[in-house]
């Protein structure tokens, strides 16, 4: 135990906050050290004077003032809004907002949610729209390629290839005029009756809303030599209700070597067209099924 340590502990000693061993060590040191004893005396004197410093009593008015304050506070608490969650909820419940107003607010909220959702989905959809655009562009390209393919195949020497070319027409959304012209020329000039029938079949749906095709079909009547194609054309005319075809059909009737069945067929068609009564076509709709027809393809028709 040295002097410094002892002096540090003097206050602890006076306020009796030393452990028994600490206190024993301190007293032992004090017994040997006069300087520390003196120090203790000064400190002790001060400590005693401090103990003698009186603490006045608070004035009698303090108590009533406190209770007055407490009463005011209680009133304030009662009236003051409670900002806790529970308090807010209870205030909300006690607000008694009229039901229609609540409903209106609710529906406005729902609309808001809907708008937000829509906006979100729309933004999301824009990426898809870009993809869609690319797909459309690709589809258009494929369509163009088909048209080019059709145009190149339609002059192919092989009838099978030409049939394939004609079959592409169904896959074209909007055949251009070059394709239409090529098909019409095939219808008029192709050496193979099946190719011509297929072409006619391909052209019929186009004739519904394309005037060039209609006119081409009407003109084609005069150019056909095959009874199969002639009767098929006559059917198409009836189907389209094409009155301009009556004249060419009459002229066709005057041809000397006209097939008998075709003759009656054409007469029937003329009658239907003149009276305006739609008649069911008597020939089968799929002409290529009659490929075993006894009528040979006339080589002369190629030159027309």
């Amino acid at each position: 135990m040295n002097c410094e340590r002892t002096q540090e502990q003097l206050v602890d000693y006076l306020s009796s906050q030393l452990t028994d061993t600490e206190q024993a060590a301190l007293t032992a040191h004090l017994a040997t050290c006069a300087e520390c004893r003196e120090e203790l005396q000064t400190t002790q004197r001060l400590w005693q004077i401090m103990g003698a410093v009186p603490t006045p009593e608070p004035s009698p008015s303090l108590r009533p003032e406190f209770y007055a304050m407490l009463a005011t506070f209680k009133k304030e608490v009662k009236n003051a809004p409670d900002y806790s969650l529970k308090g807010l909820w209870q205030r909300w419940l006690s607000l008694q907002i009229p039901l229609p107003v609540l409903r209106l607010a609710y529906s406005l909220c729902l609309i808001g949610v809907g708008l937000l959702g829509g906006y979100w989905l729309n933004n999301k959809g824009q990426e898809k729209a870009a993809d869609q655009q690319q797909i459309t562009a690709l589809a258009a390209e494929v369509g163009e390629m088909r048209q080019v393919l059709l145009l190149s195949l339609i002059d192919n020497p092989s009838a099978t290839e030409r049939l394939r070319a004609v079959s592409y027409t169904k896959e074209l959304d909007d055949p251009n005029s070059r394709v239409v012209n090529a098909l019409l020329s095939t219808l008029n000039n192709d050496s193979n009756v099946n190719v011509r029938l297929a072409t006619l079949e391909a052209l019929t749906p186009l004739a519904q809303d394309d005037a060039t095709v209609r006119l081409g079909l009407v003109h084609s009547l005069a150019k056909q030599r095959s009874p199969l194609v002639q009767s098929a054309l006559a059917d198409v005319m009836v189907q389209l209700q094409e009155h301009r075809s009556v004249q060419p059909l009459r002229r066709l009737l005057k041809q000397p070597n006209l097939d008998e069945s075709v003759k009656s067929k054409i007469q029937e068609s003329i009658q239907t067209l003149s009276t305006g009564r739609p008649a069911a076509p008597s020939t089968p709709s799929r002409h290529d099924q009659t490929i075993s027809s006894p009528q040979p393809v006339r080589p002369g028709t190629i030159a027309v």
């Binding site: 001060l46 003698a52 410093v53 006045p56 303090l62 406190f66 304050m69 209680k74």
Partner: protein, 174 residues
């Protein structure tokens, strides 16, 4: 206090009865003025009510009370920078418990007045630990809880404060 926190504000009366003198003593020794101290006692109890939700119940109520009191005191000192520690020397003699003779009483009164003066010249931090330790008779551990520090730090501060008080007292005496 937990009952007060739960909404039983009337229980605050009980706490007032138990602690108002102690609190007044602390503030009085810190400020040296009875009237201001009474106002501040009122203020501390008001804050106890207002901030009752901050009392967790973990620590002692007394430590929490002194926390609030120290805040009130700090606010007051901030607002009244020039209000130094005040000494009502005249009043002191009246409160003394009287010695064996008139002379002894007078001598003691002088000593007490000197010490009160010396105490007023200490820094608020040093005065605080001495007030808590000597006048409020708190152990170091409790002071540490009030000041949010360690027991060791309190010990050191009390020692230093005592040395400063000794020096100041002897200087005034001579």
């Amino acid at each position: 206090m937990l009952r007060v926190k739960a909404g039983d504000v009337d229980r605050m009366g009980l706490l007032f009865e138990r602690y108002n003198r102690q609190l007044f003593g602390f503030l009085y020794h810190m400020l040296g003025r009875a009237d201001t101290s009474e106002d501040l006692v009122q203020n501390v109890f008001y804050r106890m009510l207002k901030y009752r939700h901050t009392f967790t119940g973990d620590g002692e109520f007394r430590a929490w009370m002194y926390h609030l009191a120290r805040n009130v005191l700090a606010d007051y000192i901030k607002k009244n920078r020039h209000a130094a520690h005040h000494t009502d020397v005249d009043n002191l003699a009246e409160h003394l418990s009287g010695g064996s003779s008139a002379d002894a009483a007078l001598e003691q009164a002088q000593e007490v007045a000197l010490l009160h003066q010396a105490l007023g010249r200490l820094s608020p931090e040093n005065r605080e630990v001495l007030v808590l330790s000597r006048f409020q008779e708190m152990k170091y551990a409790e002071i540490a809880r009030v000041l949010d520090t360690t027991e060791g730090a309190v010990k050191v501060r009390v020692h230093r404060a005592m040395n400063e008080l000794k020096a100041t007292y002897l200087r005034i005496e001579n």
